[in-house]
């Protein structure tokens, strides 16, 4: 069954790219067809299905070199210092910035027929209204994962983000080591927009985070949060929804809450940077990721909401891998939820203030 789907995907891909030769397979063919047989893929850590890369390599006779980043800012610095990649998976606001700074190539959508598989919620978003530059990879929200044996559900629902400052849980919480997500938590808890450019509001959020840092001894983590919460090392953690979905599926003591104060709905999308060495193969790769099989493997392994509408429906539907998992599906149309926009003032303030938050004790 799987074989035939893959086969038909190959045939479809070949048909669309207008190439008559039969099958991928050897790297010689790949060189002829794409100009090169290596693809440099710059992705988040722990963010791809188990077999996606190896399947792609086998089918197309190419080699994928993967590198990983753990924040958009880090990725940006690396890209700006001149490193060349073929496909990168930044988040919404970073894509907006990269577009503004002419660091991305316009996509040739005729090479990505699988665009039609995209779920409705992730298309034509404000950071790239026509999807000229970016193709959604995963999407989700940010929320709190908590151990419902130690932290009562009613308390989490009632207090929202401010439960992170409840000294009862001193030394028992993880914060995400990212300026955007931490300031989002603070700004939302204070009732402000996370896209604010009001300096007083930002400073208020800064003080909120400093107070949390000094009274709660939080541990700042990135991807370690996934395994550590799955092992139940702490009581609460600010996490991305997909990591939460994985944690929930591994440890039944854990629950997920998207606070009523609102949260960040984000979309990570595949883009091709201006200096890509192999844009043709990059298009092929993006198209491949959108296929049912690759999307399924991705979402099943990593736990983030798929951007492929069929996968999304199958995963969350009856008998699906994430049926009844409250962290899998992002919340729809909740007025207080926002998508991050690129805003230079906010960007500069946050990067200046974040290290000071962590150093304030």
């Amino acid at each position: 069954m799987k074989k035939t789907i893959i086969l038909s995907a190959v045939i479809a891909a070949l048909a669309f790219s207008g190439c008559g030769s039969t099958g991928g397979g050897s790297s010689q063919n790949a060189v002829e067809k794409y100009g090169s047989d290596t693809l440099k893929f710059y992705n988040w850590g722990e963010y791809i299905g188990e077999n996606v890369i190896s399947d792609f390599e086998e089918e197309y006779g190419v080699k994928v070199i993967s590198e990983y980043f753990d924040s958009n800012e880090m990725m940006y610095t690396k890209l700006q210092s001149g490193d060349s990649y073929d496909v990168i998976v930044p988040s919404d606001y970073m894509i907006e910035r990269l577009i503004k700074e002419d660091m991305l190539q316009k996509l040739d959508l005729s090479l990505i027929p699988n665009m039609e598989n995209l779920a409705d919620g992730v298309k034509n978003l404000a950071f790239d209204p026509e999807n000229e530059y970016s193709v959604p990879y995963f999407w989700g929200s940010v929320g709190i994962v908590y151990n419902h044996n130690n932290v009562p559900e009613e308390e989490v629902e009632e207090k929202g983000y401010s439960i992170l400052k409840d000294t009862k849980y001193n030394g028992r919480i993880y914060m995400y080591d990212s300026e955007r997500d931490s300031f989002m938590v603070a700004l939302k808890s204070l009732g402000y927009s996370m896209n604010t450019d009001n300096e007083d509001e930002i400073n208020e959020a800064y003080n909120w985070l400093v107070e949390l840092n000094n009274t709660m001894s939080p541990v700042y983590v990135t991807d370690e949060v996934i395994d550590n919460m799955a092992n139940g090392l702490m009581d609460m953690a600010v996490v991305y929804s997909g990591d939460a979905a994985y944690v929930l599926s591994e440890n039944e003591d854990m629950s997920y809450s998207m606070p009523e104060e609102g949260t960040n709905i984000w979309v990570d999308s595949m883009v091709i940077p201006e200096n890509a060495a192999n844009p043709k193969l990059a298009h092929e790769f993006i198209n491949y990721i959108l296929s049912y099989d690759a999307s399924y493997d991705n979402s099943e392994t990593v736990g983030y909401a798929s951007t492929n509408k069929d996968v999304l429906a199958d995963m969350s539907g009856k008998g699906g891998e994430y049926e009844g998992n409250e962290a899998y599906l992002p919340r729809d149309n909740y007025a207080k939820d926002e998508v991050f926009r690129d805003n230079e003032f906010l960007r500069q303030k946050l990067s200046e203030l974040w290290i000071k938050v962590k150093a304030s004790k």
Partner: protein
């Protein structure tokens, strides 16, 4: 002689490309600010003003120096006896002991530090054993104890090997002379061995203190991001904030502090050996 001189040229090219040029770049970055467009570079002391006018950064600097000093002291206390034992061991045993000290350095530092996370964490090896005995669990990971432990563990081979080298270079007949002149073993150690091994201790101090004061991944991993040290601030400026100017300025400040402390240790070194000379 002359034909050997030309063999130094590749080294000079190497050193200027990889050390001098980057240092000059740091210097340029530290004293400038970039505007929005890439071409405008302005001379400015703003980066330094920003650092010294902020209590938080000064606090981080103080904390980094304290942790580095603590690490160095612990390394001396543990490293000296170890080096002494190795220096006085015989043949095969000596070889094995040296091997034991150096083997860990063959493995990547990052990997070894990750291993400590597994050992120290709340459900890690130590706490599992302790809970089996009915004690604990103790919170060890993400404390200053963990940070100093990680640094001592990573840097102590430098201290041991330096002291060991200076101990083996020592002329053993001096000790015989001391005992001939009526000194007991403790006196001989304090008056002869210790002063003669001080140069090893001093170079050990430089080799431990320097990486300890600028380390960023040990506090990040073992301190859980709660122990922000100066190395973390610099890393953040380069990797996350993209403010290379400020990052360079902090690096320069650190370089100056390190140069001053090296100058002081050199002074002490000279003073001590002179004193030793007079006493002899």
């Amino acid at each position: 002689m002359k034909q050997f001189k030309s063999m130094a040229y590749p080294y000079i090219v190497w050193i200027s490309l990889l050390i001098v040029v980057p240092m000059l770049l740091i210097l340029v970055y530290a004293f400038t600010t970039t505007g929005n467009s890439v071409t405008t570079i302005k001379f400015s002391l703003a980066n330094f003003a920003k650092f010294f006018s902020d209590v938080i950064f000064l606090d981080v600097l103080r904390r980094s120096l304290l942790i580095a000093v603590a690490t160095t002291v612990v390394c001396i206390i543990l490293g000296y006896p170890a080096a002494y034992i190795i220096a006085n061991a015989e043949g095969r045993k000596k070889f094995m002991l040296i091997l034991l000290v150096t083997i860990p350095t063959w493995i990547n530092m990052l990997v070894r530090t990750y291993a400590w996370m597994g050992i120290l964490q709340d459900d890690g090896i130590i706490n599992t054993v302790l809970s089996f005995l009915g004690i604990g669990p103790f919170k060890m990971l993400h404390t200053s104890f963990a940070v100093i432990l990680g640094m001592v563990y990573n840097f102590i081979p430098f201290m041991i090997l330096q002291i060991y080298t200076s101990l083996t270079k020592m002329d053993k007949s001096l000790l015989e002379a001391a005992s001939d002149l009526g000194a007991n073993r403790v006196q001989a150690f304090l008056r002869v061995t210790l002063p003669l091994s001080l140069p090893g201790v001093i170079s050990g101090i430089t080799l431990v203190f320097l990486p300890a004061v600028s380390s960023f991944f040990i506090p990040k991993l073992l301190g859980g991001g709660q122990y922000v040290l100066i190395g973390n601030v610099i890393e953040n400026q380069f990797l996350t904030s993209g403010n290379w100017n400020f990052g360079s300025a902090i690096s320069l400040i650190m370089a100056v502090i390190i140069m001053i402390s090296m100058y002081i240790t050199k002074k002490i070194d000279k003073g001590e050996s002179m004193e030793g000379g007079v006493k002899k």
